[in-house]
Amino acid sequence: MNNLHAAWQIAWSTLRRRRGSLLTFAGVAAMFHFITAVGLQMVGGLDGVQSMLESYSPNIRQLLKISPALQADYSLRDHLAFTWLHPFFIGLCAAFVVGRSSDALAGDIESGAVYLVLSRPVPRWALVLGRIGEVGLGLAVILLMSWLALSIGVQIADLGPLPVAPYAVLVVTAWCLFMALSAVALIVSSVASRAGVAAALGTIWTLATYVLDVLPAAVNSPLAWLNPWHHYFPPGIVAAESIGWFGLMILVAWATAATIVAMALFGRRDLV
């Protein structure tokens, strides 16, 4: 069997076997976006949302990345895009990618399943590639279902058509962001022997980078562009209506480099 084919086989088979939990994640994410659109009038429309945001303390608004300018000129477009930055949604996506990445290698070692796969003519790098591939496919399902649910919700609530191009860019950027986070979690997973430890460290990495992206000192630092979250601000992406190539390249570089590092580390370690 071709090694890339083996990686694809691992990705596809694992995705199919875990489709139950994947559809749960995707269903919850889709429901969230649907409710956000159809429920807008129930919370008093944009005015209602705006007064809710005003009730938050400045620190909370900063943590949620609601800038004074955004708050002052809060439009329907901003509201729909903001659902992609809502703590519930990004927490859900982060939980999916970090959980799957942690379980991918460290979990396989912990359960012993890794010995069954790697006693076959399958190189270790193909296992790593297959597992990150499974995360990527699953994440794509979650994001596409979210986009679809938001489009349907917007139609039902008669909020006007959802522009296709900006949201396509948003979905691609979100996919790259969470793949970057996932690949770094995979590095941890490639050297750990317990899924719990890998998940804890992966979560710390995800939270730390998010918090760094709201701290003024870090945001204004010349190295702020290195932070994956720095390139993901949905209201800005939708407003720009074009691809932010630099940010996308940084995210792709994070995902690619971290996957290669995970392959190298996993390829050299003892599987105890």
Partner: protein, 311 residues
Amino acid sequence: MNRQVPSNSPAITLQGLSKRFKDVTALENVDLEIARGKILGFLGPNGAGKTTTIRILTGFLKPDTGVVQLLGHDMRDPAAALAARRQLGFVPEIAGLDTSATGQWLLDHLARLQGQAPVDRDLLADALALKDRDLRRPIGRLSRGTRQKINLIQGLQHRPAVLVLDEPGEGLDPLAKRALFDVLGQARERGATVFFSSHVLGEVESLCDDVALIRDGRLGRVDELDHLQRTMQRRVTLELAADTDAEAQLRALPTVSQLRLHEHRWQFHIAELDPLLKLLAELPVHDVVIEPPSLEDLFMQYYDEAATTSE
């Protein structure tokens, strides 16, 4: 790169194998060679180094020093190890199964990764009395014995040339264990090499051509089972006519040990039979029982010798 290896190379070669985990020496200078078509039982108590040896042999662990070859392929070289694994069937300890998968999914998935048709799956399922409905249930809901049957089938279903099994009898009932030994015997008949670890001596005794004893990471003895049994001590129980004092004569026999009189019967161990038989011809014997050594005897004898040597 040419990965061809001579077809007459041993199935398994371990030379000067050593492995340490931090301060613990797991293996020390292990040498072992298994010819093609043989069944070797790898015996040792828990923690002796059996699983570490198997994981090095299958390429999961890298040895600190030494040579590891499977069918002539150097298992330290990733590309050569891939070539070797095309002909390998590996049965890890029972914990190696993903409990959320069904047996059917797991067997299909692993067969695809092996790149070979699971030609013996149905045959093995029949032999091990594994039901279709058990294959369709998540492995986590199956009994330990049924999980172990699935574990065995995944390792054997593609008819490999070399089988490496880590405690394969664990969790199996006596009938399934018998079926497993029949399957392994059939594998040997078609020319496969079988390397299996166990701490259950009876399993090895009923199946193996050769045995290797390991303790504290050191390989103590590798021998043909028949030869080992011939050269190791037999257990003798001897009843003589009343008032016969034969203690001095028995004690003078070469290789005699553990001589004692218990309820008018002499009991002792002896390796050389000829002098004993000559002596028995001269004595008024009422009854004599000469038992071949069980593997348990061999095992204990080896460890006694090892302990004496180390003292």
